[in-house]
């Protein structure tokens, strides 16, 4: 560059010719990395859009090639896995309770069981780890609530609970307060317990039915939500003596989960194959109806980012839904996995754990095509770039077709088809009825309003 200064010759002309010094463009030694001068002038980069499209197409294809979500199967239970609990402090620890009353503690990095204890007679119905991570609670069919130490007993010591509370009725679910020594159980009524006492400090009933799940709100920590078998979802405030309000739906909800980031939203898994996301403030219609399962949905868990959730269903599949989408983005299944009863999304947003009928706990990747392990900066940059490209061209027909393609077991595939036909027939019939009746007598009911019976305050 220095040598190309304007010269003055005898002609009195000024001239400069491009003359590059190779030292500015070639690396000095073999130990250096190559120099790559950039110029972002659009004129030097023709066919910007078609090239990006090609890159996006390649990225989409590669994503499908690398989509291998199944990581490991944890076996050891001698009956179906009925409930699971994430450790609040340790990422690598998982607790699971089975239908024969056994509780197992797993080390997920080594993929082995580190501790087994016989907690209850009959099913372990619910399990939760205390917020401090030093102990956990279990409830079972034998009408007891037991508190256990997280550490295994020393050599020669006997496996004994820290505390046992004998209840009057069977407990079906359990959740612990986020900050205080208070926990809630559900059964024939929702009880709030103090850890120091052997009788509930508060009991809520509304009607004479049993409850299947209770959950504390992660932000407004005094709020609770529960699902009752009279098809209702009930909200409570722990500080009040009566429940707040409830919404009654067409069919029963099985479990409920709060969105950890926008904690005024909760999602419930329903018997009518759908999941419903509600805004706690407006229960009269759900925010979104999530459809895709072809059988009853049994469990749900949100990702820690609150952007997605995973659901487990009786149709032997797991589906991942974006928070704001009506349809799933991913479906996981294996030949051997039976009805999935419980599901958890790990706290590092990378793994999904599912417990199913056939006594196994399975570990899945949350993003099927994600590379595990530490990424080099260049790798990460490439991944981010590809992600953005896929996003940009997601609506192009070819790319959409490839990215949406999933293999499904024949049973599920045909059942989904059947459901689609049924739904279409119902819709057609409704239209026909509307056409042949007096205008206004058959109102249009939206999908969101269809499944709600009433809201009671």
């Amino acid at each position: 560059a220095n040598s190309s200064r304007p010269f003055l010759s005898s002609h009195q002309m000024k001239v400069k010719v491009l003359s590059r010094n190779p030292d500015d463009y070639v690396r000095e030694t073999k130990l250096d990395i190559q120099r790559v001068p950039r110029n972002y002038d659009p004129a030097l980069h023709p066919f910007e859009v078609p090239r990006e499209y090609t890159r996006a197409l390649n990225a989409t294809k590669l994503e499908r090639v690398f989509a291998k979500p199944f990581l490991a199967s944890l076996d050891g239970h001698r009956d179906g896995v009925n409930c699971m609990a994430k450790h609040t402090k340790s990422l690598s620890t998982l607790l699971s309770g089975s239908c024969d009353g056994e509780v197992k503690v797993w080390n997920l990095t080594k993929r082995e069981c580190v501790r087994t204890l016989q907690a209850h007679e009959g099913f372990v119905r619910g399990m939760v780890v205390r917020f401090c991570g030093n102990s956990f609670f279990t409830v079972g069919d034998d009408k007891t609530i037991k508190q256990w130490k997280m550490e295994a007993p020393g050599y020669g010591e006997e496996e004994e609970p820290l505390n046992t509370i004998l209840g009057k009725t069977v407990f079906t679910g359990l959740d612990h307060h986020q900050k205080e020594g208070v926990f809630a159980t559900c059964g024939q009524q929702v009880d709030i317990w103090d850890e120091q006492r052997s009788s509930p400090i508060r009991s809520f009933t509304w009607g004479v039915d049993s409850f299947s799940s209770v959950r504390f709100n992660p932000v407004e920590t005094e709020l609770l939500a529960s699902c009752a078998s009279d098809r209702s979802i009930v909200l409570y405030d722990m500080r009040e003596s009566t429940p707040l309000k409830k919404v009654i739906m067409n069919l029963r909800s099985n479990t409920i989960c709060w969105n950890p980031m926008e904690a005024y939203y909760f999602t419930c898994s329903n018997e009518d194959y759908n999941l419903y996301t509600y805004d706690m403030r407006h229960l009269d219609r759900p925010v979104i109806v999530h459809m895709d399962h072809v059988s009853a949905v049994l469990d749900i868990d949100y990702s820690p980012t609150g952007k997605e959730f995973v659901s487990a269903s009786f149709d032997k599949t797991i589906r991942i839904f974006p928070r704001d989408s009506g349809h799933s983005r991913e479906v996981y299944h294996t030949k051997r996995m039976q009805h999935v009863i419980c599901i958890k999304w790990s706290a590092d947003n990378k793994y999904i754990l599912s417990g199913s009928d056939e006594m196994n706990i399975r570990m899945w990747k949350a993003n099927a095509a994600e590379k595990l392990g530490v990424l080099s900066p260049r790798e990460r940059e490439a991944v981010n770039y590809n992600q953005k490209l896929k996003e940009k061209f997601q609506h192009h027909p070819q790319i959409r077709r490839i990215s949406r393609h999933r293999h499904l077991p024949k049973a599920i595939y045909s059942q989904a088809k059947e459901l689609r036909v049924m739904k279409e027939a119902r819709r057609r019939k409704e239209i026909n009825v509307r056409k042949h009746s007096k205008p206004g007598t058959v109102p249009v009911v939206s999908e969101k309003e269809k499944h709600i019976v009433t809201v009671v305050k």
């Binding site: 001068p37 110029n39 972002y40 030097l44 090239r51």
Partner: protein, 588 residues
């Protein structure tokens, strides 16, 4: 600051040079003051600092930093508008309706991001190391009178060495091609001489005689392979001169163009065929019979990969591999077309014809911009990255500047070579014009022709073999499919706003039937007691009735409306006329 410099001067071997140059924001008076002060109270640093701070604070409300000095350039550096404009991709889109909250959010976000990208790219543009070349004459001197020897003498040695002649009088005249990085030169003599060389180091890579007439030569995607259009077939050689392929599907080829992002070699033959060869898989993509006779004028539009062909009847036709007919036919000249060139941005097309005219077109609007008359006519045309036009008339090569924006009267440069010019090419990323002629090859210096700053990931003249291999893999991975060649290369990112009717029509055409058409009612026959002709007829009528109900209803309603209107008008008329006969009271 000033005191530090003073003290440094005493015991430093570097003299005045170290003194920081005066900045426009520093007041000269104030500087003097502080200098005086520094002599008086050299030890009382704190106090002075405070003073200075106060002064600065008074003068400009600059942001204070920890050191106590204010930032003389607060905020980001200003960006000139034209530089921002250079990186603008498209107009700002209108935000959608408030009701479509999600979409609105997405659009607003992407708008912010693209604006940021545009700004960052413009800021980066400031840091580009090289500047374009130029040539300015004396006050009353034309630049076209300056000879090549004078230029070569005036510039540095390496640049001066870029002006050279190759005396190859035996096998001429020569066609030539530069590789995409501008490092390698390929020469093809009419009488069979083919040579490729690294022209800057003058290192010969291979040289041979194919013992056949050579019509055209072209580098493929990298400098390891090139195509030679010989008397009968098309051949592909590697850089050592080994024949890799003889492609018998491509016969009598007269000229070739290589589309680097599509990996397509487009050939035009004496039999009037335009053929596309995918060099990555070796398949013929398309063979189009142009029905326009001998095709010996050809160029590509680097912006959208459309091939331009010039014909002897004065038309220029535009072709893509996806269509059997020409996309566009333009009548450009009264005589035959002799040469065509399209600029890098795909905006302008320059043509020259037998009518001795040189015309400039806006190829996006297909509009003529300028028309020049050249006494001898131009046989070859070539456009550089920076938009310089070179035209060969006989044995003289002329270079023009800004042919499209202003009516040019004089050439920018001119040079006489030793034979009739046969091929003309600007070297990418260099201020060099290669001229192939009857007596060999001449490399000319044309200051201001080349793009000064190349992009290392796209075409890097200094790349190592490892870098070339990596580039090759990446380029092959993102090879653009030939189906995507169209007049507007950005069409993929536009919303397809075809109307429902249009889509439906296409669907019907693709399927061969109308999927939404109502099934024709065919009554099932052969039902016990129900297939009597009377029943069938009645059933048919019933269905027909169902279908016709709506129509009848609407037609009756229409009739009623019309009647009503007529009556109304009559009544009005009566009211206006005011005449009532005795019989009017019997009217309804």
């Amino acid at each position: 600051m000033a005191s530090a410099v003073e003290t440094a001067v005493k015991d430093s071997h570097v003299e005045k040079k170290k003194k920081p140059s005066a900045r426009y924001w520093q007041d000269s008076k104030e500087k003097g003051k502080t200098e005086n002060k520094s002599q008086n109270e050299a030890e009382n640093g704190n106090k002075r600092k405070a003073n200075k701070r106060k002064l600065k604070g008074d003068q400009r409300g600059g942001k204070m930093v920890l050191s106590g000095k204010s930032d003389p350039f607060p905020g980001p550096a200003p960006l000139p508008e034209e530089r921002l404009q250079k990186f603008k991709r498209r107009e700002k889109s209108k935000l959608p309706n408030r009701k479509r909250r999600k979409l609105r959010d997405v659009v607003a976000r992407s708008e912010v991001v693209s604006e940021m990208a545009q700004k960052r790219a413009a800021q980066f543009d400031l840091l580009l190391p090289e500047e374009a070349g130029f040539l300015e004459g004396d006050e009353d001197e034309d630049t076209c009178m300056i000879s090549q020897e004078d230029i070569a003498e005036a510039v540095d040695i390496t640049s001066g060495a870029k002006y050279f002649n190759l005396n190859l009088s035996q096998f001429g005249p020569y066609r030539l091609d530069y590789s995409r990085t501008g490092r390698h030169l390929l020469l093809g003599g009419r009488r069979g001489h083919v040579a490729c060389l690294d022209w800057q180091s003058k290192q010969l890579m291979c040289e041979m005689n194919v013992m056949e007439s050579v019509n055209d030569v072209k580098w493929l995607h990298s400098e390891s392979m090139y195509a030679v259009a010989q008397k009968k077939w098309l051949y592909i050689y590697d850089s050592k001169g080994i024949e890799l392929h003889c492609i018998r599907k491509f016969n009598d080829v007269l000229c070739m163009q290589f589309l680097p992002y599509h990996f397509l070699l487009a050939t035009a033959s004496a039999t009037g065929f335009l053929q596309y060869l995918d060099v990555s898989v070796g398949k013929e993509i398309a063979a189009i019979c142009t029905k326009a006779g001998r095709l010996d004028v050809m160029c590509q539009n680097p912006h959208n990969a459309i091939i331009h062909l010039g014909h002897s009847n004065g038309t220029v036709t535009l072709w893509s591999p996806n269509q059997k007919e020409a996309l566009v036919k333009m009548l450009c000249h009264q005589g035959g077309v002799r040469s065509v060139a399209v600029d890098k941005t795909g905006t302008y097309m320059v043509t020259s014809g037998m009518d001795k005219k040189l015309k400039v077109y806006d190829i996006r609007a297909f509009k003529p911009l300028q028309s020049y008359f050249l006494p001898a006519g131009a046989s070859c045309l070539s456009l550089s990255h920076k938009g310089l036009l070179s035209a060969a008339t006989g044995d003289i090569v002329q270079v023009y500047k800004d042919v499209w924006s202003t009516a040019v009267t004089k050439p920018y440069m001119a040079h006489r070579v030793r034979g009739t010019v046969w091929g003309l090419h600007f070297c990418p990323f260099e201020d060099v014009l290669g001229v192939g002629h009857g007596d060999g090859f001449t490399s000319m210096l044309v200051p201001g022709a080349g793009e000064p700053n190349f992009d290392g990931l796209d075409a890097n003249p200094y790349r190592s073999s490892k870098q070339r291999q990596e580039w090759e893999v990446k380029a092959l991975l993102e090879k653009i499919q030939p189906e995507l060649i169209s007049l507007d290369p950005d069409q993929l990112c536009h919303v397809d706003q075809a109307s429902y009717e249009q889509k439906h029509k296409e669907r019907v055409q693709a399927l061969g039937f109308d999927p939404l058409a109502k099934e024709k009612f065919i009554p099932k026959l052969k039902k016990k007691g129900r297939s009597s002709s009377g029943n069938v007829e009645r059933r048919k009528r019933q269905v027909a009735h169902e279908d016709q109900r709506d129509m009848i209803r609407t037609s009756v309603e229409d009739k009623m409306k019309i009647e009503k209107e007529i009556k109304k008008q009559e009544r009005k008329k009566e009211a206006l006329s005011g005449l009532r006969s005795a019989l009017d009271r019997f009217k309804k």
